[in-house]
């Protein structure tokens, strides 16, 4: 338990550093938010009063701690471009992006783990080589292009879904999950190739170890040795990679949302970057940072469970 507490504490410190860096970086950007909101014709008095209203006339440190205090309570301030709170803008988009992320994570594991194990089990056979070649090509496909290919193949040619036909979960959960399968697949495919590759090579590396030879010499069947002994040891680097992949998937979702026309976090992030709507940008970055850091924390904990030798 001490291990977990220590990790949680270090996560909180990391989040604090991220928030400080992000807040300061966005405050130092040249350009006046009040000026961009009122236009160049605004009078100096109007600008000053808006700056005061937006709190921009106070010192940076004061603004940071005020922002931090309300951010912890889930209030990220007001959007510059829309007269809405940032929290209300993000609240219904976040679940969509998180669904996409977790869905692709599940697909990735379903695709890569059995194939990787199977290819390693059949090492050197023709089927192993075929898997390797397909894998190498898949790895080189960027997620947005895999999204386009999936739209072309499954959407246009096979008519399995309507391109751009996103359905909200409130209207029809089954159609929502049916549609989300394809963007999730687009994110999962290139990543699956990497997981497969990693699992394959770590399984093959385990084969040469002494304990495997010992297990065979005691008369174990090859299946028992493979699934009972080697798989657990080989899964350790794969788990680390899965944690890193989870972080990458949120970046993947932002791009894939554009390909499939999904109204998630990605779209608000992009329009906010283009409109220089910094409170929204900062809030989304902080949310993503939370997801990334929490997923790293989970990996560390799972790591410890799988391999008790990991030091505190």
């Amino acid at each position: 338990m001490k291990y977990v507490l220590k990790k949680v504490l270090s996560c909180i410190i990391t989040l604090f550093i991220v928030s400080l860096l992000v807040f300061v970086a966005f405050s130092l950007i040249p350009g006046d938010p009040a000026l961009s909101r009122l236009g160049t014709n605004a009078t100096e008095a109007a600008l000053a009063s808006l700056r005061h209203q937006m709190g921009l006339d106070r010192p940076l440190a004061v603004r940071y701690f005020e922002w931090l205090a309300s951010a912890i309570r889930g209030d990220f301030g007001k959007s510059y471009s829309y007269s809405m709170t940032v929290t209300s803008m993000i609240a219904d988009k976040l679940p969509i992006t998180l669904t996409l992320m977790l869905y692709s994570m599940v697909l990735m594991v379903i695709i890569s783990v059995p194939l990787g194990v199977y290819a390693s089990y059949k090492e050197g056979t023709a089927i192993d080589k075929v898997i390797q070649i397909i894998n190498q090509i898949t790895m080189a496909i960027p997620p947005f292009f895999s999204g386009i290919l999936i739209t072309l193949i499954f959407g246009m040619t096979l008519k399995m879904f309507t391109p751009g036909g996103f359905v909200s979960v409130k209207i029809s959960p089954s159609r929502f999950f049916g549609f989300m399968f394809f963007p999730s697949l687009a994110i999962a495919l290139p990543k699956s190739a990497m997981v497969l590759n990693l699992l394959y090579s770590s399984l093959n590396a385990e084969k040469k170890k002494d304990y495997v030879r010992t297990a065979y010499s005691r008369g174990n069947k090859s299946k028992t040795v493979f699934f009972g002994h080697m798989l657990k040891n080989a899964s350790i680097p794969t788990i680390t990679f899965l944690g890193m992949a989870l972080a990458d998937m949120i970046a993947g979702s932002i791009i894939i949302e554009q390909v499939f026309g999904i109204p998630g976090l990605g779209r608000i992030l992009l329009t906010s970057i283009q409109n220089r709507d910094y409170p929204v940008v900062i809030a989304i970055i902080m949310l993503i940072a939370c997801v990334v850091i929490v997923s790293n924390l989970l990996v560390d904990i799972i790591y410890k469970l799988v391999d008790p030798r990991v030091k505190d």
Binding site: A25, F145, I148, M156, I250, I254, I273, V281
Partner: protein, 263 residues
Amino acid sequence: MKQKKISFNLILGSVLLAVTLVPALIGLIWTPYDPEAMNSSLKLAGVSIRHIYGCDNFGRDIFSRIMAGSGITLLIAVGTVAFGSIIGTAIGAFTGYFGGIIDEALMRINDVALAFPSLLLALVMVSLLGTGKYQVMLALGIAFVPSYARIVRSEYIRIKNLDYVKAARLAGASDLRIMFVHILPNTRTVLLSSVMIGFNNAILAEAGLSFLGIGVQPPDASLGRMLSEAQAYMFTNAGYVLFTGCTIVMIILGFSLLSKEIK
């Protein structure tokens, strides 16, 4: 003597890169058609002898645009990797060699930065720096610094206690001389393979940013920018999307096959 087998990866990788990079290099000085020349009678024209990849929504020759676009994509990738690896190496060398509080603080920030997907880091940078090809180069370059810094730092920590470094110090070599004349050349294998991987990541990240519309801006055409334009017309001219996308896949596959060989 056993004859060294010429590897399949090496051949395929070189062929893929030749097919994509040679046109890109030629595209810097000559393209069959002006990549910007519009022709309304050729809007979304299919594949033909005169336009081997067909034409885009403005009747511009897609092959010429891919030649020019690959050039910009590669230029950005080279700039990004150069910036990221030089700054990253310098930071990694100093922190790894000297250690101490600055090392601790920088590595803490580095860990945070590394936890972020590089595309998101680049997104943050682009929103700070603005869009355009030089901004993208700088944004991606900065986003790539942490990974190089970490790799080089761990190499320096490993090497700085080796006997030859101690010998150099006894002979009176200065810290800077030991860092850059004695240790740096011995990090080359690690550095080279991470430069190759970084090159691929840079191509992917640039394509991703431009695809999102916040990377390279018109009239410049990068492969990612073209792909996002092509996406709107994939129902009328699928060739546009496929030729552009496959060019990206071929470049990345080529580099990853070659980097596998170098390892």
